[in-house]
Every structure is written in C-alpha cells, then in structure tokens.
C-alpha cells in the first residue's frame, strides 16, 4: 500500500439488506483505499457475499449509499458495475469449457475487424499482452476444458482486466488451489496492485489474510466487527472477532489409540463417470480409534474412492472389507446398516434434498425404524422430537424443523448432514470435504465431533483438499495423486512445503 495515497476506491455507507427472516447486511460501512489489498473475512453467513454482490450489482441494498472513487453511484445491474471498473472473480468459475482462454475472455466484447467479423488475432494478442503485463501465465489458445483450476482462475482474472477493471473482487480464490498455486496467485495479486489496481480479497483462511493483505475488515452476523491494518493484528484476534469468542486454531486431541481393523481396502480399481481410471490399485486400512486422512488436490480420485466405499459407484477390481465382511457389491443402505456412515462432498445434491424440509433430511437414514415410524406410518411427534434433539445437539441454526433445507446457510446445511450421519452411531464415518464452505466456528465444531467419534472407539476416514484440516485432525495421512497413494505421512513429522510436493505427485 502506498501510505501517502489516501484516496478511496470503494466506500459504502450504512448499507442494509434483508432477506425474509435474516438481515444479511446491517448498517455496514466498508471502505477500501486505492491501491491496497483489502481482505474481507467472516464466517459463512456473515454477510461478505451479500456485500460484494451489492457492489457488483447482483443484489440491491434496502438502504445505504455506495461511492466509487469518491463519487456517489447506484449500481443496479452488473453492467453498471463493470462500467465503473469493478471486476469480480466468483468462487465458481463462469467459463465456457469448450472455449479457449481468449474466447472466454473476449466473450461479449470481441474486437471486430473492418468487415464486422471477430478479429481473433487481435483478441489473442490483446489477451497475451494483458497477461504478460500482470504476470498471468495463460496461453490464449488453451481450451478451458484442458486447463488446470489455477489457469481457469487466471483466465477469470484476465476477463475482468480485459474489461478494464480497476477494482477486483476475488471471492475465496484460494479454496481450490494447491499451496504452490496459491503462492503464484499471491504474486499475481501483488503485481496487480503494483500496476495501480485495488483488490478486495474474500477469504476465511487467516494465514492468507496475514500474508497478503494490507488492511482487513471482519464481518459477523451482517455487521462489521472491526477494521485494522494487517500488521497491527494477529490471526487469534481476527478469529475472535469473526466468531465472537476465542477459538483454538489447533485441534486439541490426545494421541490416537487404534485398536482392531475396521476397514481394509485391497488393490482397489475404480473408473470415473467418463470411463477413465480414477483409482488405481489403491490399498489402505482404517482402525477403530483413529482418524485416517486423505490429502490431495481435488480431482485426484478422492471422489471416486469415497463413492466406491460408500456404494454409490461400482468398483472395477479389488476388495473392500468392512468389519470383517466383503462389502464391495452390497447396496448403500446395507452398508449403512452395517455401520458405515458417509458425509458426502456434494451436500446440495447428494447429501441433502434441498427441496425437502429439515426434518425430512434429518430422518433420511432412520425414518423406517421405530419409534420414528410404525407400520409404515410416520409418527410426526417422534420425528419432530428426534429432529429437535439433533438440532440442539448439533447446533443447527434454524427457526424450526419445518423449514425448507435449501434456505439454510451452507454451514447449517452441512450440520444437517453430519447430524443425520452421526445420529446412527456408526462404526466408521467417511467424511468427504466435511468443512467445505463452512465457517470457522462450525469448522471447529465439526473437527471436535470427528475427534469425539475417534475417542469413543470408532473410526473416521477424512478426505479433504484442505491441507490444514487433514494435517490437524488426522492421525495418519495418505497423500493421493492421480488415483494412487504417493506417501503415507505422520502429520507431525512433515511440513506444508513437503506436503505440497507430495500433492503434486513429486516424491523426493
């Protein structure tokens, strides 16, 4: 940040935005100086997304004012935001997979030649010029379907720069990146700022806030909790502001006491939906009383492995032995009955039916059993009691259990899944990305629950692309790369850098 420059790039005053039942932004004041990297942090549901959606013209505030470069503006649609020089990189990329980088970048604003046709050469060269200027290494002719997540993200950034954005909003940009890719992204962000751009960086990873940002704004429950210079604050202080109480950054747990083997996977081969090999000759075992972690960048066979173990995907070769019995060809319900619970990575479509009420999702594994139902008739009283118990025990924040599940925040939806899965007291819980899109307070609660399961003598298989998570929660960690286990590590004996190399498939 240039200290002597006090011009503001973005200022919002007194913004309030309510949805039915919640106030997402409650008199929010937010100020971003020109040329700074401003981190916006907060739990899910804290109101960060609503705030940037208002800035980007996706949502309209109920009241309040917005100033861009000290001028009052009304941003009533996205086009207007772009016109004002605001660019946004969403968490989910908005790219056409079959288009090249340049085609995606130019989409809607293609340069024309004298005959009115699209001037592809002009577009390609302009894209590579911008890319070079900001150190964004993207081949304009690369099709997005063949591009890595990191490249796709850079393409998204280029898209905003191509539209002359001066204020870039990055929504949780590191969620999908490896440690190395994150470092590269940070270099890009620094060069953007060197060229006079302003960056608003949304995240809930405090380590990144400390590393990259100049100033930081913390939100909670729709209100701004504090604004400070990053160098004057600490992760602990920020975490406290975010959740409103002290949080432990490390998961507190004792040494694992593994006992007998509960899951044994022998030479497993699994194909993905396109018929390609996703899991290759993989073997692992999980014992009662331990948490086994699987670390790796998304898309290295974790999804297929978990689906094969839980019965959603057929195995091609190999054995899965659970509690002494071969289970590779029995149905998901029978596996559940044998004591295998599964928290799936995709909670919106697999773990939940968002169109159903909360109670309906909570009883998904138990509705057919007494006392929840008798003779095929659901006992509403018992079901509601059961649901309310789970709601209390797992701290699901909702006005009631007759609320549509889709109206909950991501973290609360995840708590519904976890509550249902753990309510059956399973022998083994397979938790796949259990804290994805979940806020810090709830992450802590979920981690605690996983450790509690372990301490009660049950087993956990934790699959996560979140390196911090695997390393702090699991007792043993397997690093997976292209469907194979690269290395087994003890999380205490290995550092982040080394793990990054394993995750990239590099073994010493």
């Amino acid at each position: 940040m240039t200290q002597n420059n006090i011009e503001t790039a973005v200022e919002v005053k007194n913004i309030t935005k309510s949805y039915p039942g919640v106030t997402a932004n409650d008199s929010v004041d937010f100020k971003v100086l020109k040329g700074e990297i401003h981190a916006l942090v907060g739990e899910n549901g804290a109101g960060k997304s609503t705030l940037v959606k208002i800035l980007y013209g996706i949502e309209q505030p109920d009241s309040g004012e917005i100033f861009i470069n000290d001028k009052p503006v009304e941003i009533n649609k996205v086009d207007k935001a772009i016109e004002l020089g605001i660019g946004m990189v969403h968490q989910e990329f908005h790219l056409v997979p079959s288009f090249t980088a340049a085609e995606n970048i130019g989409l809607g604003q293609e340069p024309r030649n004298s005959r009115g046709f699209i001037d592809w050469d002009e577009l390609n060269s302009e894209v590579s010029n911008i890319a070079k200027k900001y150190g964004l290494d993207v081949d304009p002719k690369l099709r997005m379907i063949d591009a890595s997540v990191g490249i796709q993200q850079r393409t998204e950034i280029l898209k905003t720069l191509y539209r002359n954005a001066n204020i870039l909003i990055l929504d949780e940009p590191t969620a999908v990146l490896t440690p190395q890719e994150t470092d590269e992204l940070f270099e890009v962000i620094r060069s953007l700022v060197d060229e006079g751009k302003t960056v608003i960086f949304i995240t809930h990873k405090l380590r990144e806030v400390m590393e990259i940002s100049d100033r930081v704004t913390v939100m909670r429950d729709g209100k701004v909790q504090g604004v400070s210079n990053t160098k004057d604050t600490s992760p602990e202080e920020l975490a406290k502001l975010m959740v409103g109480r002290e949080v432990f950054m490390q998961v507190e747990k004792e040494e694992a006491k593994p006992t007998e083997k509960v899951l044994e996977v022998k030479n497993l081969w699994v194909h993905d939906s396109r018929g390609l090999l996703a899991v290759k000759n993989l073997s692992l075992d999980v014992h009662k009383g331990e948490i086994v972690g699987i670390a790796g960048v998304d898309g290295n066979g974790q999804t297929e492995l978990v689906e094969a173990l839980s019965g959603l995907r057929p195995t091609s070769k190999g054995e899965v032995i659970f509690d002494g019995k071969n289970i590779e060809s029995i149905s998901p319900r029978k596996r559940r009955r044998a004591g295998l619970a599964h928290v799936p990575e995709d909670r919106a479509n697999t773990g939940l039916n968002l169109k159903l009420d909360i109670w309906e999702n909570l009883v998904g594994t138990s509705y057919f059993r007494s006392p929840l139902s008798k003779g095929g008739i659901i006992s509403m009283k018992n079901v509601v009691d059961h649901s309310n118990n789970l709601r209390e025990k797992f701290d699901i924040r909702t006005p009631g259990v007759f609320v549509r599940t889709g109206s909950l925040s991501g973290g609360n939806q995840q708590k519904v899944v976890i509550a249902r899965e753990l309510s059956e007291d399973p022998l083994l819980t397979i938790a796949s990305q259990p804290t994805r899109g979940v806020d810090i307070g709830n992450i802590e609660a979920i981690h605690k629950q996983l450790v509690e399961i372990r301490d009660s003598g049950k087993a956990v298989l934790l699959v996560s692309a979140e390196l911090d998570e695997v390393m702090s929660v699991a007792d043993r960690v397997a690093v997976i790369y292209e469907g194979e286990i690269v290395e087994w590590v003890n999380p205490k004996d290995v550092d982040q850098q080394q793990m990054g190399l394993y995750m990239a498939g590099i073994k010493d």
Partner: protein
C-alpha cells in the same frame, strides 16, 4: 416450487382483478354489458343448488388428474400421459360395466373402478420402465402414448366393444355399475366423494408414511433431473419409487376416466373427448403440487368453467372468452418471479411471516 405463502394469495387476488379488467374490455368492445355478464357468471359458478352441483361434478375429474400430476411430479417424473390413462380407464370401466351381468351394485361398481385404475395404471408401465431402464424421456413417451390411447379406444369402440350398429359405441353399462346420481337436476354423482377421499388419502400417504417419504425423497423438486443422487446415497430405491409413482399417477388418470363413464356418460363412444388430463397439469401447478392444493384449485377452476358455460348458455357471449380469461389467470398464478418480486415490499414480508407462523 416454493411453499404456499401469503404472496401467492396476493398474486391470485391481483391476477383476478386484472383478469376482470381485461374481461371488462373484451366484453365492452364486443357489445355486451360487463356487469350483467359478470352477474350471470357468478350465478353459474356458485349460486343455487343446481349450479353448485354441476360445478362439483365438473371438478371430479380435475381433482383426480391434478393429483395424478402431483404424484408424478413428486417422484421426479413429468407425466403428460394422464389423458391417455383416462381414455383407457374409461373404456375398460365401460366394458366391465356391461360385461359382468350377475353382480350386486357395490361389487359391480367396485370391480369397474378397480379395472379402470388397473388399466390406467398399466398404461403408464411402459414409459416408466423405458425411463428407468433405458433413459427414454417420459415426456416424449407419454405424449406419444396419448395419441396411441386415442386411436386404441377409438378402434375398440368401433370394433370389439361395439354394440350399436349405427354409432361406434359400447353398450350402455348396467344399472348395477352406475355411480349414483342423487339429484334429478344434475349429473352430480358419488364419484365426487371418491375424488375428495383420494385427495386426502394422497396427502396422508405422501406426507405421513414411509412409503410416501421414499416416493418424494427421490424426486421432489427435481422434475427433469431424476434420478436424484440423494435417494441413491441414502439407499432409497429411487427406481422403484419412480415406477411406483408413475403407476399411481396412471391409476388416478384411469380412475378419472372410469368415474366419467360410470357417473356421467354411462357408455363409451368413439367421439368421447377427454382433456382433463392436460388441464390437470395446470391445476396441479396452481395448487403448488400439493394434493389438497390440487383439490382446492380444481374446485376454483371448475367454478370458473361452469360460470362460463352458464354465460354461454344464457347469452351470446362465446365460451372461448372464458378460456382466454382462464389462461390469463393461470399466467399470473404461475408467475413465480412476480411472486418473489413481491418480497421487496415490507408489508408483504411481514404478512408472510405472520401467516407462516399461523400455519405451524
């Protein structure tokens, strides 16, 4: 489909007012006095024993076909073939009605109804199996089956089941197979009570039984996206649910056709025209895909229809005007974006919260 809320009532109200406005204009430019026509319309819909009975009688098949739609949508299937099931169920109800000669009243009617349900249901077996095991879109297969049904019943009424040498029609059903008409001035019959019972029974089954839970968990809100991963993840047999749902849906269509024959027409003839299977889809959507919603929407719809018929009978106004007005009204009621845009008004949000609490 969102849950029913106060906003929907508001939109319905606003839609009705706008529709009345348009009707006013249409009637004035075609040279009528809107106030008088309106009065006649209201009278035809809900005033007097005869008109009320007729409205209820018209509602019977709509109730059943809208619930048939509800069931199919709830398992994630877009069944457009309910009309086909109506024809098949109607034809075989007529056949059973004249074929079995030595039965008492209750056994005979029950048998006819059972046959209508079973045949209407089996008519949907093929599209259900094709969808689940071969991935054939049920939208396409059920549309095609509608044509097949029309041609099939027309052949049967003309050939194997034909009795009358002059007209292509089955024999009249026996008195023992008739659904009782209670009043001399209306065709209103006991079929209406069957339809109402079915509405409440469907509500109970869908909401309060494990069977209903399994039906819904796979497809609720997922028409066109079946099968959902949710049900296979929980180990709920979603294929079985989808097939069962289609069979129930077809069975209700068959029942609608059967009641039309046993209660109103009393024989099946080639020119018999059913279209309630299609209107049932619209009505079900107006009723927010809830069985009781379908029941209420059917009564509303039938009142409008009967009012229109009354106007048509008493005046020179063409009955097509009613169809136009109904369509405009449906337009408003199904305008989900309009409904959600109402949320920007504070009083709407407040009232919404108030009524939601009341319902709980």
């Amino acid at each position: 489909m969102e849950k029913f809320s106060f906003k929907d009532v508001l939109i319905l109200f606003a839609g009705t007012i706008i529709t009345i406005g348009i009707a006013w204009v249409l009637l004035t430019v075609t040279g009528f006095v809107p106030r008088e026509i309106g009065k006649l319309f209201f009278e035809g819909a809900v005033v007097g024993q005869r008109n009320i009975l007729n409205t209820l009688n018209i509602a019977t098949p709509y109730i059943l076909t809208s619930i048939a739609t509800v069931v199919s949508f709830r398992v994630g299937m877009f069944n457009i073939g309910i009309n086909g099931s109506m024809y098949i169920g109607g034809l075989y109800a007529a056949w059973a009605g004249y074929k079995f000669t030595s039965l008492g009243h209750i056994p005979h009617v029950s048998l006819c109804i059972a046959i209508a349900v079973i045949t209407g249901s089996l008519w949907m077996l093929l599209p259900a199996l094709l969808k689940v095991y071969a991935g054939v879109s049920e939208i396409i297969s059920t549309i095609i089956l509608n044509f097949v049904a029309v041609l099939f019943v027309s052949y049967m009424a003309n050939g194997p089941f034909r009795a009358d040498p002059i007209a292509p029609a089955t024999p009249r059903i026996l008195e023992t197979a008739e659904l009782k008409q209670y009043f001399p001035n209306s065709q209103f019959n006991s079929g209406f009570f069957i339809a109402v019972i079915i509405a409440f029974l469907t509500y109970f089954i869908l909401k309060k039984t494990t069977f209903g839970y399994e039906l819904r968990s796979g497809g609720d809100g997922l028409v066109g996206f079946y099968p959902s991963r949710y049900s296979s993840y929980l180990g709920i047999p979603s294929d079985r649910s989808a097939i069962t749902g289609m069979l129930i849906s077809g069975g209700l269509g068959g029942l609608a056709g059967g009641i039309e024959i046993l209660g109103n027409a009393r024989y099946f003839y080639q020119e018999l025209l059913f279209n309630q299977g299609f209107d049932g889809i619209l009505i079900a959507i107006v009723g927010k895909l809830e069985p009781i919603g379908g029941l209420i929407a059917s009564l509303f719809w039938s009142a409008l229809r009967n009012g229109g018929l009354f106007v048509d009978y008493k005046t020179e106004v063409s009955r097509e005007i009613v169809v136009i007005l109904l369509s405009i009204l449906i337009f408003f009621v199904s305008a989900q974006k309009l409904v959600s845009s109402l949320e920007r008004f504070k009083f709407v949000r407040k009232l919404d919260a108030f009524f939601t609490r009341k319902i709980k």
